[in-house]
């Protein structure tokens, strides 16, 4: 769904029917074949799935939710939380850089240094791959917006 006021198109209706499991087996197979080659339709289905999950899990707000919202919007939280995260990130990054420098300058053989570098590089590579995979699937994950 684009969120505009336009009437639903045939594709919108087909995506809704697909998500709700209302298509006949033949129609479903044909629709899934279209999904293989039409990214716009995939996005429409993802949006419809997100709506369906939200509609199912929607519940009245409880005082606890409202209290959390109030805390999160308070001045201390808005200022303190980013500051805390920044301090943590700077500290962790600085410590990692210091460790790398110390290992590089340590009076040890080249082999332990290469092995340490390989561990660090492997860790970073795997982390980046996981981040990349997640960033690709995240826009189509209908469960991301579920709160409780």
């Amino acid at each position: 769904m684009s969120g505009t006021e336009r009437p639903p198109s045939a594709d919108d209706l087909a995506a809704m029917a697909y998500v709700d499991g209302e298509l006949a087996p033949v129609e479903r197979t044909a629709f899934e074949a279209r999904l293989e080659r039409e990214p716009a339709l995939v996005r429409e289905v993802a949006a419809q799935q997100r709506l369906a999950v939200l509609a199912r899990s929607v519940a009245p707000r409880e005082p606890m939710d409202l209290e959390w919202r109030r805390i999160e919007s308070s001045m201390e939280h808005r200022v303190g939380a980013p500051l805390g995260w920044t301090l943590l990130a700077v500290g962790a990054g600085g410590l990692a850089a210091w460790c790398a420098f110390e290992v590089g300058a340590a009076p040890i053989g080249i082999v332990p240094k290469l092995l340490t570098a390989a561990i660090a590089a492997g860790f970073l590579l795997l982390l980046l791959l996981a981040l990349r995979a997640r960033s690709r699937t995240k826009p189509f994950d209908p469960y991301d917006d579920v709160l409780r």
């Binding site: 499991g21 199912r56 959390w68 995260w85 943590l88 469960y143 991301d144 579920v146 709160l147 409780r148």
Partner: protein, 105 residues
């Protein structure tokens, strides 16, 4: 698709039992949320990050039950149950399962 935790659906007659249907998922929160949750754990009270994580697991597992039931031609799932466990530090697994049935009429 009708999903119920009871063994029968009032007002509807079960024509035949199709069998077990299930759906599970394992999800984890980002490390930043885990860290935030750790601080909330120190002071007590609800941990919204984990409430949300389990809710996401529950909805995904339910969707997989429904998909499994649809694929088997069921009209409803009775005796629906949830089980959960921690498969890894900070990750939650939820398994939903039930009995797929075909209804009369």
């Amino acid at each position: 698709m009708i999903l119920v935790t009871t063994d029968a659906i009032p007002g509807r007659e079960i024509e035949r039992v199709i069998g077990l249907v299930r759906g599970n998922t394992v999800r984890s929160a980002p490390a930043s949320e885990d860290l935030h949750a750790w601080f909330e754990n120190v002071v007590g009270g609800e941990i919204p990050e984990y409430t949300r994580l389990l809710a996401q697991c529950r909805e995904q597992a339910l969707d997989r039950v429904v998909a499994d039931a649809r694929a088997k031609g069921a009209d409803a799932v009775v005796a629906l149950r949830f089980v959960s466990c921690e498969i890894a530090e900070g990750a939650a697994e939820i398994l939903a399962y039930g009995t797929a049935v075909k209804l009369k009429g």
